[in-house]
């Protein structure tokens, strides 16, 4: 295999960096994590002319080489460490033609590190509309680089980038700004103290904000030959550096960049007038939320019903076709329903991420942050917490990861701690099936009761999240002052390709990440339900037949009784019975107990577990829902799933911390077991109490 050219895509957020990445790599991309931290790592392979390939690394968006978040820190750590395996041969700096001035700041910093850099000026399709004209040749000369004028939307200029990557050895590496002029003596001392090091690199290492970034600075101690400055002095120098860079940039753009001011701001101003309006802004935001949830509920119902039936008939077919035996039972009763329990999620996850990525791509999400910041801050959260909280409606795991761009540690911690209260998509199947069982399918003023109940559950989750955030805010002591800055990007028509790739990638990560766990658990559950420790299990048939000897009982009734006797004496029945006394006051029986226990691995297992339990207990293949509806509570003799037990169960699932994966991610993000354990105990305890009250009141 020939050596690939290592390329890093660097750029400010909202410059269409991901679009360029998608254009360069197509579907040859994979998304993972940086080792030890949970910053998303996107990489892919790009085919260049003449059969040469390039490895493309899409670095997290950053405004500069001064990190204020973990995401940005990834960029710095990579660019400062030449021995890093991903250290780029060439950097492609993506900039937005409308924000060129600010985008060039990062470019000049990268040039100072003497990394060969190509400047890609994106959104070229907007130039005409905005009255922008560029003198590329002049800019190339002034900036000491090669420029590719790109429109990732139209797909133009991508070939130019490829050509330039191919020729990267010819790129000049001289810096275009000399940062050391801001304090000549200081920089001279610095260089003398560390003659082997790149000067600008030294400066960056010294000025990184160590409160947030765990960058190792042991290579630059205070030595007699070199005295470090106070924080305040360093900051003054950093401001000088920014001024110095902007002076250079302004000088450069004055000649090479012309804007015809007659071309108006147009779209941004008029849309913002409505979308960030004190009243209409909120009305529109909540209308959008309502629309999203009603749509997810209504649209995904059709493919979900279809998937449900498909897997039911598939498992029937497998049972009839394959040679009879225990492994066939495993396939038809454990494996196929288990896979069905994963596939049935796909429509909802896809729809939710469709909406989330549309909101993000269009630039609307930043307006939501703007609108919500003041309100969220009262609860100890930040406007930036809105995005994790909304992402929490898909899955708490990416949502907890999405808190990384909250600079303030306290706000970030609170967001992490309360996000699991948001209704994640794993709760959705539990909600859907229980709502369908206990809430009437009627309409009130055109709104479906079941849809309203679902929305109420989402609201309860949200209210509990902000409520507990408020409590945490009051209890926890403030250490650092919060800082908040959100860019308000231009409104854009979302790119279909980006949206589609996001939806595809999120769905894939669910199916192959969580899906494997669910499948493994359904196999284990099937085994536990189909085997028992005592003779009672093995001899169930004789024991039950003996009991009914001489009685007039149909064969069908006898078989059902044998099956349920077997289940009672299986491993899983023994576990369920052991916890039954604790959950009986909530209106649950030992079968629900089994499902609750298995939910701690992943909530969505609830439905699959019940499916396994019931299909084991019955011979005819009715769908899961009908089977659950027929279940009788052994204590009361009424339906097991009635309004009281249904609401109790819904509330238990709304509040309990039942997800091992979330606990693991919280441990990783907070770097301590203290917080995930607090979540587990407090959330589940609260859930138990609320569910208990609900059942006892409604009973």
């Amino acid at each position: 295999m020939s050596k690939q050219i290592k390329v890093a895509l660097i750029g400010n957020p909202n410059t269409g960096k991901t679009s360029v990445f998608n254009q360069l790599t197509g579907l040859n991309q994979k998304v993972g994590n940086y080792p030890g931290i949970t910053v998303e790592k996107k990489e892919g392979v790009c085919k260049l002319p003449r059969g040469i390939k390039a490895h493309i690394l899409d670095l997290p968006g950053t405004y500069s080489l001064n990190a204020t978040s973990l995401d940005e820190n990834v960029v710095i750590e990579l660019l400062l460490n030449k021995s890093h395996k991903d250290f780029p041969d060439v950097a492609v700096v993506i900039s937005d033609v409308e924000n060129l001035k600010r985008n060039l700041l990062l470019f000049t910093q990268i040039k100072d590190l003497k990394i060969p850099a190509i400047l890609a000026i994106n959104m070229a399709d907007r130039m005409d509309r905005k009255g922008i004209s560029l003198d590329i040749e002049l800019l190339e000369k002034k900036l000491n680089t090669k420029i590719a004028l790109v429109s990732s939307r139209k797909g133009t200029g991508i070939d130019t980038i490829k050509e330039l990557i191919l020729e990267y050895r010819k790129l000049p590496t001289e810096p275009c700004v000399n940062a050391s002029v801001i304090d000549k003596d200081y920089f001279e001392n610095l260089q003398n103290a560390f003659p082997d090091q790149e000067l600008y690199k030294l400066w960056l290492v010294i000025t990184q904000d160590v409160n947030f970034v765990q960058l190792n600075r042991h290579t630059i101690p205070d030595t007699s030959s070199f005295n470090t400055k106070s924080r305040s002095e360093l900051k003054r120098l950093q401001q000088k550096e920014a001024i110095c860079r902007y002076q250079f940039i302004n000088g450069t753009l004055k000649e090479g960049y012309k804007v015809d001011a007659g071309a108006a701001k147009g779209l941004r101003a008029s849309l913002d007038r409505v979308l960030t309006h004190k009243v209409w802004g909120y009305v529109i935001f909540f209308a959008i939320l309502l629309l999203i949830f009603q749509t997810i509920f209504n649209w995904s119902q059709y493919p979900m019903d279809y998937i449900d039936e498909l897997f039911a008939s598939f498992s029937e077919w497998a049972k009839a076709t394959l040679p009879a035996g225990v492994f066939t039972n495993l396939i038809s009763e454990g494996l196929i329903p288990g896979i069905g329990g994963i596939v049935i999620f796909i429509p909802q996850i896809a729809f939710l991420f469709l909406f989330i990525s549309l909101l993000e791509e269009s630039g609307y999400m930043s307006r939501v942050v703007f609108l919500m910041d003041k309100g969220m801050r009262r609860f100890g959260l930040s406007g930036k917490s809105v995005v994790p909280l909304i992402s929490g409606t898909a899955c708490a795991i990416p949502a907890v990861m999405a808190t990384r761009n909250i600079e303030n540690w306290k706000e970030r911690l609170i967001t992490i701690l309360v996000t699991p209260f948001m209704t994640c998509s794993a709760r959705l199947p539990v909600y859907l099936i229980i709502i369908a069982l206990v809430i009437p399918d009627k309409r009130f003023m055109g709104l479906n009761y079941q849809g309203l109940m679902l929305m109420a559950l989402y609201l309860i989750g949200f209210i509990t999240a902000v409520g507990s955030a408020y409590l945490l805010h009051k209890v926890m002591k403030t250490r650092t002052k919060s800082f908040f800055m959100v860019e308000m990007p231009n409104y854009k028509v979302p790119l279909l390709k980006n949206v589609a790739l996001t939806v595809l990638e999120k769905t894939k990560s669910f199916v192959f990440g969580a899906g494997k766990i669910i499948l493994a658990i359904s196999i284990i559950l099937w085994f536990l339900a189909s085997n028992g420790p005592s003779d009672k299990y093995a001899n169930a048939e004789e024991i039950v037949t003996e009991k009914h000897r001489g009685q007039d009982i149909s064969e069908e009734d006898l078989n059902t009784e044998i099956a349920s006797y077997q289940l009672e004496n299986s491993y899983i029945g023994i576990i369920g019975k052991a916890i039954e006394p604790a959950i009986q006051p909530l209106g649950y029986d030992w079968k629900i107990g089994i499902a609750l226990v298995s939910s701690f691995a992943a909530r969505e297992v609830f439905v699959g577990t019940l499916a396994t339990i019931y299909s084991v207990g019955s011979e005819e293949e009715s769908t899961i829902k009908n089977r659950m509806a027929a279940e009788i509570n052994p204590v009361t003799g009424g339906k097991l799933f009635n309004l009281a037990s249904g609401v109790s169960l819904l509330l238990f699932y709304a509040f309990a911390m039942q997800c091992m994966s979330t606990l693991a991610i919280v441990k990783r993000e907070t770097n301590s077991w203290k917080w995930p354990m607090a979540q587990l105990i407090l959330m589940s305890g609260f859930a138990y109490i609320v569910a208990l009250i609900a059942y006892q009141v409604l009973k």
Binding site: N81, L215, I517, I524, A664, K667
Partner: protein
């Protein structure tokens, strides 16, 4: 005298348990060993 189907069931069970154990216990050890902080200084 176990038949082939019983053997397959136990094999599937072993894979499933092995997978879950690996999923929930091994990554934690890895995280502890990960040297993202020591390895990334400026050299």
């Amino acid at each position: 005298m176990p038949d082939i189907q019983t053997i397959l069931v136990y094999a599937a069970l072993a894979i499933a348990v092995g997978f879950l154990v690996k999923k929930f216990f091994l990554p934690k050890k890895k995280t502890k060993k990960a040297c993202s902080n020591q390895d990334c200084g400026c050299h």
